[in-house]
């Protein structure tokens, strides 16, 4: 699709799940003022919901439980940090930096 084709238009209804999520979830969930459940990465959550909904039956069969085991949703573990450190080192060494897109 050329970018020109996109022009101004309204996407399909109902609204894209991602657009709804980024509005209703914001940065987390708060219950009655005192309880806070943090959702550190709405984007990641959206991807997962989309993937799971695409194959909801299959996911159920397999008993996927991504929330519990997900480091992004439970506080960051060292991985992102490690990548960032690698990137900085490569920059320092004058090397082209690692591209995460190539995964």
């Amino acid at each position: 699709m050329s970018s020109r084709d996109l022009d101004t238009y309204r996407p399909q209804h109902p609204a894209q799940l991602a657009d709804v999520l980024e509005r209703v979830l914001d940065k987390g969930i708060v219950i009655a003022g005192d309880i806070q459940i943090n959702l550190l990465d709405i984007e990641l959550l959206t991807v997962k919901i989309r993937l799971l909904i695409a194959s909801a039956d299959k996911a159920r069969e397999m008993g996927i439980d991504w929330w519990q085991g997900d480091p992004f949703l439970h506080g960051r573990n060292g991985q992102g940090e490690l990548e960032e450190r690698l990137r900085r080192l490569e920059e320092k060494a004058g090397l082209p930096t690692s591209e995460r897109e190539e995964e």
Binding site: D7, T8, D26, V30, I37, L52, W66
Partner: protein, 257 residues
Amino acid sequence: MAAAPLHEDDTGWYLYGVVANGADPPPVAGVDPRDQVVVLAEGPVAGVASRVLLSEFDEAALVDRLADAEWLEQKIRAHEQVVEAALASGAVVPCRFCTVYRDESELRRFLSERGDALAEALARVEGRVELGVKAFAARPAAAGEASQAESGRAYLEARRREQQARQELARSRGEIAAQLHERLLAAAEDGVVLALQSRDVSGRDAEMVFNGAYLVADRGRFEDALAAISRERDDVGLELTGPWPPYNFVSEELSRP
């Protein structure tokens, strides 16, 4: 889930948003379809709410529920549907997902304690809607040159060129975004820049270069501004979403009691 009616003992109140006192309850099902959505008036404002099982919506249960993508999408869509239905008949201060009170008195206390601030927030969004604007650029050529390079030196040079191209692209996209936001803001009452969505999330081939939300009083004027930008810029495709409840234009402390 059993279809038994909800008992007061095991239920809390799910708050969708706040409207002016006197507004009718939106005629749609809530996040628990067994109970009706009602308005609980308190001073100048009223809460749009319905009862939910605490076994489903209280803290411990919720963490598990959130792991269930189907449940989550269903409830999020139901939340949005109620707020949009309320919006159809007047101004709404929308609450975020899962704003739950353990009993009615807690909910009423929030409404009465924050009544003035809520009424002000309602006045601010009265007659205005939130519109979303996203801009997409064509995807850059795949960065595969380096992997085909024959020598180490050629590889490094290719990587450098790719990196420069990416930086150039990022700079021009930053300019596009800044310009878009400035012009759209001029046709709106207020605006915010939202996080870009990746292709996985947007579901589009093209890469998102801008994502913004605007509080708009005059939709014709705003859409004219958008159309003018669209005519001038053939390097981006624009997408308009909404009208949304003004999620991005109510203060966090009000939408998160």
